[in-house]
């Protein structure tokens, strides 16, 4: 081994790769993911103590798993010794390592990994707790790294994680794979967690700690791990496609001064072709398997990704995809997007017709994009005075300074 820090970063790299599997394997033994994570952490500490002087073992993942498992067995034995002093309890006598190996060989580690994902994203936990637990247990991120990524103090994340572990224990959430109708619901929670992580990273701005944008990569990595575990689930591929296609635009979505650049104005040469290609492939898999809301959103993103220039965008197809999305998951915001696509495909008059019912929609009251979009349609129809009123209304609603300036500029251009 070379210097201490080199050894440490090498061990941490092994940890990042192996953490989830080590935790998952131990969780099956002890039935408690919180305890499993602590035992796995103990194994990491042991590695940090031993590897720098003794060298990294030939199979570091197996070493970590074995060490963590031994500690799990020690813990279980201690509990059994304690229980033996309580005469009323019948205690399972023999607890040797080979018995545990038999347990672990029953089904593959992949199933444990999947159980771990479903448990970390369990609906008894609040979304931010699911996110923290998932990054910690599946991503192998430290509390500190998660805190930096979410712009909160380390102590907050630490508490969030320990409370989440306690909630899982209190609710006696079993370490198992959900089946039947519960499975779909639990899977949608997992996908939601991954999408939340991605969006947090995607909303990072210039000057943020690099851990923030790195969340996008974490989310894509988690998505790919999930796809490897349950390759027959269409929406997993749909989500990956959506994330990869969105991430492909990362470099193009801000200008030299950090200002946002809208999709249609982006320099498409800066789109990441490797991610576009991967995203389109994932979308094809998702569509083959059936798809759902993530797949439809990915299909919409793909229409943009396939167009070499903004003018080549297939708006008719986008409008149709939004209609299908609205049918599957009705939402005024989706309708608003459909109106934009329809206006691009069939002209502003057609767009206005789609917009019409939305004007009475209570949830869009105060939503600046509604008058902003309507203003744009009216402007394109030459109805300048009405357009101007809409842009001014939108400007009064937005909280974003840059956006307000833009809307007021558009209002003035109507004169």
């Amino acid at each position: 081994m070379s210097t201490g820090t080199d050894a440490e970063s090498a061990i941490e790299a092994v940890w990042r790769i192996e953490a989830a599997r080590v935790i998952a394997g131990v969780a099956r033994l002890v039935g408690d993911v919180g305890l499993a994570e602590e035992l796995a952490q103990d194994a990491l500490v042991a590695a940090l103590e031993q590897w720098p002087s003794e060298g990294v073992p030939r199979n570091p993942g197996a070493w970590l798993a074995t060490t963590a498992r031994r500690r799990a067995i020690d813990t279980i034995r201690r509990q059994q010794v304690l229980q033996r002093h309580l005469p009323a309890l019948a205690v399972d006598e023999c607890t040797d390592a080979s018995q545990f190996d038999a347990v672990l060989e029953q089904d593959p580690i992949e199933d444990d990994l999947l159980r771990l994902i479903f448990t970390a994203c369990h609906p008894v936990l609040k979304p931010e707790a699911r996110v923290a637990l998932t990054l910690r247990m599946l991503g192998g991120l430290s509390t500190d790294e998660i805190a930096r990524a979410f712009l909160v103090p380390g102590a907050t994340v630490g508490q969030r994680i320990s409370r989440a572990k306690k909630s899982l224990a209190d609710a006696k959430v079993p370490f198992e794979l959900p089946t039947g109708p519960a499975r779909a619901e639990r899977l949608s929670s997992v996908l939601e967690v991954i999408y939340l992580i991605f969006n947090e990273g995607y909303s990072a701005t210039a000057g943020d700690d690099w851990m923030r944008p790195a969340l996008c990569e974490e989310a894509m990595r988690l998505g790919r791990i999930l796809a490897g575990l349950i390759p027959a689930e269409a929406e997993v591929h749909g989500l990956i496609a959506l994330l990869e296609i969105q991430a492909s635009r990362s470099a193009a979505r801000t200008g030299p001064d950090g200002e946002p650049v809208m999709l249609l104005e982006q320099d498409r040469r800066r789109w990441d072709r490797l991610l576009v290609g991967r995203g389109l492939a994932a979308l094809a898999r998702a569509e083959e398997l059936g798809g759902g809301t993530y797949t439809l959103q990915a299909a919409i993103a793909a229409c943009h990704a396939r167009a070499r220039t903004a003018e080549e965008t297939d708006w008719a197809r986008i409008a149709e995809l939004y209609a299908r999305l609205a049918a599957l998951a009705p939402s005024p915001v989706v309708e608003l997007n459909r109106a934009v696509a329809v206006s691009m495909a069939d002209g502003p008059e057609a767009g206005l017709a789609v917009l019409e019912p939305l004007l009475q929609e209570p949830s869009l009251r105060g939503y600046h994009l509604l008058p902003s979009v309507r203003g744009d349609f009216l402007f394109r129809l030459g109805r300048r005075a009405q357009a101007r009123a809409e842009f001014e209304r939108a400007a009064a609603m937005t909280r974003n300074e840059r956006e307000r300036t833009l809307l007021l500029t558009r209002a003035e251009a109507c004169a």
């Binding site: 970063s9 090498a10 941490e12 790299a13 092994v14 990042r16 790769i17 030939r58 790195a214 990569e217 894509m220 990595r221 988690l222 998505g223 790919r224 791990i225 490897g228 575990l229 990362s250 470099a251 193009a252 800066r270 990441d272 490797l274 991967r278």
Partner: protein, 117 residues
């Protein structure tokens, strides 16, 4: 961040390009592991220069194309993988595991991929 892992083989050593079934199986397993870990973005294996190669040199304004196979024995890239990892240490760990699959000497180079900021 992305890293490219490239392994180098002796262009004139045919044995190195004809992996044993054991090595082929081990590499297959490794690729599955990298893929399931969610880090694999792309990977390809290359043929030795006898399988199709050329070197284009531009020197003093003159462009020269020399087709393969290369006459002199040299180390050439045998294949590459692009991984999305958290840091260089992780790329080095994956490269170390790759090198361990082979029964002959091998060099794996790890390089950071330039990305738009």
């Amino acid at each position: 961040m992305r890293y490219m892992l490239m392994h180098k083989l002796d262009d004139s050593n045919a044995a190195q390009w004809q992996a044993t079934p054991e090595v082929i199986a081990a590499v297959g397993e490794y690729m599955e592991e990298v893929s399931k870990a969610g880090v694999l973005l792309a990977a390809e294996g290359l043929l030795p220069s006898s399988g199709g190669a050329a070197v284009i040199t531009k020197k003093d304004g003159q462009t020269i194309v020399v087709d393969g196979p290369f006459a002199e024995a040299k180390e050439v890239i045998g294949g590459f993988a692009i991984l999305q990892v958290r840091d260089q240490a992780e790329a080095v760990e994956w490269a170390t595991r790759f090198a361990a699959l082979f029964d002959h000497d091998i060099e794996v180079e790890v390089r950071r991929v330039a990305e738009f900021e």
